[in-house]
Point group: C2
Chain length 458, copies 2
C-alpha cells in the first residue's frame, strides 16, 4: 500500500462517530416521522450534477463556491492552449470540468421535477435529506460538506399549504422539545412597500440589507441603506416597517398593516394572503406564530409568504426557514409552477440538542447485553443465547476474545451496555445465566426464558 | 436565472423517486435492524477526502477512477508552466486538485479508525451506509455514484467474528426473504496451496484469474493461467482445488482438505481456522453455508477467511462479500490490527426485490387518508380532523385546492392512498365524515372518533 500517510480529514469536513449518529438519526427520524404523517414522500438526487445545471443559479459568488469535478482521463486534451499559457483558471473550467457537487437541494429538485414531470402526481409533496457541498472558508459551525433537510409542495398556489407548513414546523419542534417562534412575512408586502416609497428597482438591494437585521443593530443598517443610495425619508419608512415584529398573527393584526404601512396593490394582495393564513390557523399555535415585517429572507426566488423559525433562549440564528415561490422550475422548461418549501437547519438543531443531557439519554438505544467470553467451552453455550436474544429483538453481543474479566466489563461499560451476562461452568451446569444490571449493580441467576423476559421488559 | 437549460442527469447517476425510496429504505431498515441487534454502531465519513488519503490504495487502475475535485479559486496559480505546455494531465493533478470523492468505504474507515483511535472502544463494531463514486464507464447496473453498505469488526482476531458475520448474513437474507448460499474459503489455504505447487510469487496473478471463475468457464481460465506462465501440472492442480465447491461446511469436510489438496504450513493453519468456524457454527444454517475453494475475492488485503454470498435462482453475481484482513490501518500508522468485514450489494438486492410484487406491497406505507377539499367553508372542519389524525400517527392530507372531485380522487389513487374522506355541508351538520376504502369501495359515515378507530385498526 505504499508509504505511510498521516490520517487527516479534508478541510471543512467531519466524521460522525456513533454518539453523533445516534443523535442525528434521532433528529432525522423525528422530522421524517412528521413528513410522513403530512403525506410527504422522500426522493434523492445524486451528489453529482452536470455543471451547467448548477451554474448561474446562485449568483456570481455562488458559482465560485461550487465544487467542480475534474474530467477523468486526459482532461487537458481539449483545453485551449492560449488559456493554458495565460493560466486563465476561470475561462478553462468549461473545458476541463463537466460535473460538480450539488450546492443545495433546491436546484437539483427543480431539475428533478421537470425531468420526471410525467411520472409525478401533482401537487407533489416531497422531502429530501442529503449532504450538499460549498467551497466556503471553513469556520466554527460552518462546513464545506453539510446536510440539508427540505420539504416542498409544488404545483398548487393554495394558501392552505402555508398553513400546512406552519403546522408541520410547530409539530416538529414540539416533538424535539425545542421552544421556537415561527415568524411570518410576505415578499408581496415587502415589494408593495418598496413600490409605494419609490424604490422598487432597488428591491433586491433593500431586502439584502434588511435581511442582515438579525446580525447587525438598526443603526448600522441605516448606514448600509444610505450607502446603497436610499434617502433619509425612505430609511425612516423602512424603520417603521421593520418595527412591526413580534406581533401575534391574527386577521386583525394583519388588517392593521394596510393603515400603518404604505403599500401598493401587490402589497395589499400580500396583506390579504396573510389574513387568509391567519383565518385558517385560527387560534392554534397563537403563542408561537408571529408577524414580522423585518423578515426578508436572502433568496430572491421567493414571491409570497416567507417563514423563519428562531429558537427561544438560544442565540443560534434560524433553525428553519422557507417560503412560497412562483417559478422555480422555469429555467428547466416548466414555467408558472407555484410551490412552497422549507428547510430545517439540521446542524443547528443538532447543536441545541447536543448541549442537553436528556436528549443524549433519549437517543441511546434501549437494552444492550454483552456476554462475557470464558473460552471455547463456555462460548458455545453463550452463542445460542445471544442469537436467541437477537431473534427476540434484544441488542446482544458475545465478547470475541477470552480476555481478562476487567477488560470485558470495561468494554461493556464504554459501549453503554445495560447488562452484562456471565455464564461459566457453574451456570452452564444449572442451565442458567448470571445477569448484571450495570446501572443498579443488581445481579440475578436466571434461566434463559427468565433472562429474556427481564431484557424485554421496559 | 439566465437561459433555459435542458434537465439532464450527469452520466452514470440516478434519481430515486418515492417508490424507489420506499424499497431502498425497507432494505436499509431491515439490514440496519440486524446490525443494531448484533451490537454494531453507525458512523459516517465525509464524501470528500484528501486526495493523498485515497491515492495508491486501489492500484493504478483504481487511481484513474477516483473523481478528483478541482481546487477552488485560481487553481492554476501553482501549476508548473512546462507541464501546462505539454498538456501533461496526470502530472498536473497534484498541483490543481487536493481533494477527491471517496472510492469505497474501506479506506476512509481505516483513516477514521486511526484518527479516532483514542475515542474508539475496541474491538470496534461499526457499520456504514453511504454513497461512493467511481469514474467507471457507465453500463447497465453499474453506476458512477452508488451506495455501499459495510460492517466491520476491527481489533480482534477471534474466529468467533467469522461466525458472527455468517449468522448476521443468514439473518439478513432470511428477513429479506432472499434464499442464498454463503460460500466460505480461506486466503491462507489458497496461499498454502500456491506455496506447495511453487507459485507463491505469482499469488496475486493466481487469485485474480481464479476470481473470474463465476464469469468464465474453466476452459477459458486454463488459457489465462497458461498465458500467465503457469505449467500444465500447476493448472491441473488448480483445477482440482477449484473443484472443491458446493460442499457442506463441517469439521469433517474441512479436515479432508489436508489430504486432498497440497498445502504448506500456512495452508494447514487455514484449514484449522475453517475447522474452528465449522465447530462453532455446529448444525446451524447447514443447508446454507458451503465450502468453496474456487472462491478467491479480488481484493488483496484479505489474509484469512473470505466469504461470498450468492442468491439462489437469480443470475446476478454476488449479493454480499467480505473477509478477514490483518493490516488495513497500517498505511495510516496503526499496524497489526486484525479485523473482518463484509459489504452488502445494495443495488443487486434492490434489483432482486424490485422484481417481486410482494416486496413492493410490503414497503408501501400503511393507512393513508386524503381529505377532499370542498372550499373554504368546509376546509376548516377538515383541517382539524386531519391534524388530529396525524397526532394519532395516521398519514393524512387535505387536498390543497377545491378542484373537481374526479381530480382529487385521482390524486388519492395515484399517491396510493388507502382512504378518501369527504365532509361537505351535510356531514358537517351531522358532525360526521364520509370515509371510503379505496380498495374495497366500502363507505361509512362516521363520527371523528369512529373514523380514527377505523384508520388505526390494522
Amino acid at each position: 500500500m505504499g508509504q505511510q500517510i498521516k490520517p487527516r480529514l479534508a478541510k471543512g469536513t467531519r466524521d460522525f462517530s456513533p454518539a453523533d449518529m445516534n443523535l442525528r438519526n434521532y433528529i432525522f427520524k423525528t422530522i421524517t416521522g412528521h413528513f410522513d404523517r403530512f403525506g410527504f414522500e422522500q426522493i434523492e438526487t445524486p451528489a453529482i450534477e452536470n455543471l451547467e445545471t448548477l451554474t448561474g443559479k446562485y449568483g456570481d459568488e455562488g458559482d465560485q463556491l461550487i465544487f467542480k469535478i475534474l474530467n477523468s482521463g486526459d482532461y487537458l486534451s481539449k483545453a485551449d492552449e492560449d488559456l493554458l499559457r495565460e493560466k486563465n483558471s476561470s475561462a478553462l473550467i468549461p473545458s476541463i470540468s463537466e460535473k460538480a457537487l450539488k450546492y443545495d437541494l433546491t436546484v437539483p429538485f427543480a431539475r428533478y421535477v421537470v425531468l420526471h414531470r410525467n411520472e409525478i402526481t401533482f401537487p407533489f409533496r416531497r422531502y429530501q435529506i442529503q449532504p450538499v457541498w460549498r467551497a466556503d472558508r471553513p469556520q466554527k459551525g460552518r462546513y464545506r460538506e453539510f446536510y440539508q433537510c427540505d420539504a416542498d409542495v409544488i404545483g398548487s398556489n393554495s394558501l392552505l399549504l402555508e398553513v400546512e407548513f406552519i403546522n408541520l414546523i410547530h409539530n416538529v419542534f414540539k416533538d424535539l422539545n425545542i421552544s421556537v417562534k415561527i415568524k411570518l412575512n410576505s415578499r408581496k408586502i415587502l415589494f408593495g412597500f418598496c413600490q409605494a416609497i419609490g424604490i422598487e428597482n432597488d428591491f433586491t438591494s433593500f431586502t439584502t440589507i434588511l435581511d442582515k437585521l438579525d446580525k447587525k443593530p438598526w443603526s448600522e443598517l441605516e448606514g448600509d441603506f444610505a450607502d446603497a443610495g436610499f434617502t433619509a425619508d425612505q430609511i425612516k419608512s423602512a424603520k417603521k416597517l421593520a418595527s412591526v415584529n413580534g406581533i401575534e398573527l391574527t386577521e386583525k393584526s394583519v388588517a392593521r398593516l394596510s393603515e400603518e404601512i404604505p403599500l401598493t396593490e401587490i402589497g395589499e394582495k400580500g396583506v390579504e394572503e396573510l389574513k387568509t393564513i391567519a383565518r385558517y390557523l385560527g387560534s392554534s399555535h397563537a403563542e408561537v406564530v408571529e408577524l414580522d415585517l423585518s423578515l426578508a429572507r436572502g433568496l430572491n426566488y421567493y414571491t409570497g409568504a416567507i417563514i423563519e423559525v428562531k429558537a427561544d433562549k438560544v442565540d443560534i440564528g434560524s433553525v428553519c426557514g422557507g417560503g412560497r415561490y412562483d417559478d422555480l422550475t422555469g429555467i428547466f422548461g416548466l414555467p408558472d409552477t407555484s410551490g412552497i418549501g422549507i428547510s430545517f437547519g439540521i446542524d443547528r438543531i443538532y447543536d441545541i440538542l447536543r448541549s442537553r443531557e436528556e436528549s443524549l439519554q433519549q437517543t441511546r438505544p434501549g437494552k444492550h447485553v454483552v456476554f462475557v467470553n470464558f473460552g471455547e467451552n463456555e462460548v458455545k453455550y453463550s452463542i445460542d443465547a445471544v442469537n436467541s436474544l437477537r431473534q427476540a429483538g434484544v441488542r446482544s453481543e458475545l465478547y470475541p476474545d477470552a480476555d481478562k474479566l476487567k477488560k470485558q466489563f470495561k468494554y461493556a461499560d464504554q459501549k453503554g451496555a445495560s447488562h452484562v451476562v456471565t455464564a461459566g461452568e457453574a451456570e452452564i451446569e444449572k442451565k442458567e445465566y448470571r445477569v448484571k444490571d450495570l446501572k443498579t449493580g443488581e445481579q440475578w441467576e436466571l434461566s434463559f426464558d427468565k433472562m429474556k423476559n427481564l431484557l424485554l421488559k421496559d
